[in-house]
Amino acid sequence: MDYPTLLQLLDSTVRLATPLLLACLAGLFSERAGIFDIGLEGKMLVAAFLAAATAALTGNVWLGLLAGTLGSLLFAAIHGVASITFRGNQLISGVAINFLAAGLTVVVSQALFGQGGRTPQLGEGSRFASITLPGAVDLQGLSLAEQRELNPLLLLYSDVVSGHTILVYVAFLTVPLTWWLLFRTRFGLRLRAVGENPAAVDTAGISVTRLRYAAVAIAGLLCAIAGAQLSTAEPAAGFIKDMTAGRGFIALAALIFAKWRPWTALWACLLFGFLSALALRSALVESIIGLDVPSQFLDALPYVLTIVILAGFVGRAIPPRAGGEPYVKER
């Protein structure tokens, strides 16, 4: 494998890691506040559909993002009502949300567009375009041979760092933001406390309910950006039925892998993004290690890795203590 190929691989890694990262951080907020969220997948799917559908109908991708956000927040609210207000089973609520999203997106898109659960192709202007950062070289017009001539660092910058959509940069900026919010603000301290010992937070006169709703809403917002990235950011051009394809669960896996920490989550998501980028190029893998690795094996690798992590063979992953348990104020 030569240098430009490696860079292409890293470029896809960044693109594929973005929705994972956003969903993973969404799960981080939710689970740090003690609310299990296996409905990340469903929220992403709803946002992906609404973003693409609205962008297709109005021609404005920002309106699409807004619609996606509203949809995702609505689903987050359902999860909140079920698991915070009515103290229902958070896992069951998440399962319901995933199915609701899987069904509704197809039913509604069929009614709107009649294309078997697809939205129409999004053209220029109705999707997020890639941004060329200042100083980057446009690689589209250069052949591989010409690319090899360039300064390696400039090539790295032009290919991997530059040339993504705004949502990708938002996702990567969310990592330090999340770290700051959770570990350097009062809100973050309380949020983490609510996931470890809600009774103590309650005793201090702070509303457990409000904090948990806030966490669930942040999760909804982040899932919305993840969904919009899937359906409306170049090279994507529209919604396809079930397009999240288990990413919500890979994100959860990454969250456990990262032991509920934002910076580690970034590395975990990049690793899983890299694995999916490899799975798209199984011929490349064969040429490197000289073994014919089935692409299905690469598909399954994130899950297998997570199970190994979960089994505690690579350090123990200890979830927030009050995770999954509804808080009852008085017994």
Partner: protein, 388 residues
């Protein structure tokens, strides 16, 4: 604990949940410009209006009985097994391996062997998450979910590669031998010229499913192991003091659950497809969750809920063909049922409980029987106050 009578818990609360789910589904159908009442009639007619409708309905119901029982057995030990999908898929692999590589003289032997293969495969697929939960504390929901994806990748690999016969385009194994074909409803219930259940996939597995439901009832409520599973699910701490080992309970309940989910494969893979195909499970593993929740984890409830979902599934398919309402409407209904009977259970339950508490309070104040004229009703002493 008993804030409401038993019948209200078993019938009224699920009925209200179901009504709410139906109401919202109707709104969705209205919103996409179709007539919900018309849709309901088409669904019921498509599912129950002919023996061929029934043939499909009962076929789907058979799948859901198996997966519903699987989820409910695990629920009794307070394990949430959402890996039914993967366990059923791997069960299909077990069936395929048994039927492809062992010659059978008669279908009955083949059925027994296939059942064994399906159960073993499904149980193995549930065993790993179970042992990880018991020994290492890995969350069963996450691991069973991950195993669904691994199962899908494994089958994808096997059906594209090693198990695919050379020269075919389809991602499927070779067809099973003729001698392993089990009787369908058409074979069993057609007499002379009257052919019933024409062209439908319902088969003898339906009766295996009913038998499994009965055996699960025996296991949970009539055996020592079942008692231990329920005790463990009720209070892990108390069960431990009573000498019930957590590891044993987690592993046994999950292995039984996985075996039941795997057993589904005799219906779809052996009975209907007669070879192992991709996506043979078609979400039945997940519907098992809705079925178990609606059926209140009781085998009778599971069978009834499975029948209801069988009707929904078959009716929804007809709906997809005859109207502009896509087949995916079933997924919406399924989600709403899970939401209302599972996650929002308290929302439905609380008003009902309050209603019964108020009625009981009123009943306590005025004793039953005709009040005699001229006689003052004695004030009841120590009348129980209404529970909040």
């Amino acid at each position: 604990m008993d804030r409401m009578p038993r019948w209200a818990d078993i019938l009224l609360v699920p009925a209200i949940s179901l009504l709410l789910a139906a109401l919202i589904s109707a709104l969705v159908i209205l919103a996409i410009g179709e007539n919900p009442w018309q849709a309901l009639l088409i669904m019921v007619d498509g599912a129950l209006g002919s023996t061929s409708g029934w043939g499909y309905t009962l076929y789907y119901a058979t799948n859901f009985i198996f997966t519903g029982l699987a989820v409910s057995v695990a629920f009794h030990a307070r394990m949430f097994n959402i890996g039914g999908e993967g366990q059923a898929a791997i069960g299909g692999l077990g069936v395929a391996l048994v039927l492809l590589y062992i010659p059978f003289p008669h279908w009955s032997l083949a059925l027994l062997a296939a059942m064994l293969g399906a159960m073993t495969a499904g149980a193995l697929w549930a065993f790993v998450p179970a042992i990880l939960q018991a020994k290492r504390g890995s969350h069963i929901v996450i691991t069973t979910m991950l195993f669904n994806f691994i199962a899908a990748a494994l089958l994808n690999y096997l059906l594209v590669g090693p198990l695919k016969p050379t020269g075919t385009m389809e991602t499927a194994t070779a067809g099973f031998p003729e001698t392993t074909s089990i009787p369908s409803f058409r074979d069993m219930f057609s007499f002379g010229d009257v052919i019933l259940f024409r062209g439908t996939p319902a088969n003898i597995s339906f009766f295996v499913a009913l038998l499994a439901a009965f055996l699960v009832w025996l296991l949970i409520w009539r055996t020592r192991l079942g008692y231990e599973i329920r005790a463990f699910g009720f209070s892990e701490g108390a069960a431990r003091y009573a000498g019930i080992g957590a590891t044993r309970m987690i592993v046994l309940s999950m292995v039984i659950s996985g075996a039941l989910a795997g057993l589904m494969a005799i219906n779809n893979t052996m009975g209907s497809d007669e070879r192992l195909i991709m996506n043979a499970v078609e979400g039945a593993g997940f519907i098992g969750i809705a079925v178990a929740l609606m059926g209140r984890n009781h085998p009778v409830g599971v069978c009834l809920a499975a029948l209801l979902f069988g009707i929904l599934y078959q009716g929804g398919g007809i709906l997809g063909m005859d109207t502009a309402i896509p087949r995916e409407m079933i997924v919406v209904i399924q989600a709403l049922v899970i939401l209302f009977t599972g996650a929002l259970d308290q929302m439905v339950r609380m008003p009902v409980e309050r209603l019964f508490a108020r009625r009981r309070a009123r009943a306590a104040l005025s004793p039953p029987g005709p009040a005699l004229p001229g006689l003052q009703t004695p004030k009841p002493t120590g009348a129980p106050t209404a529970e909040p």
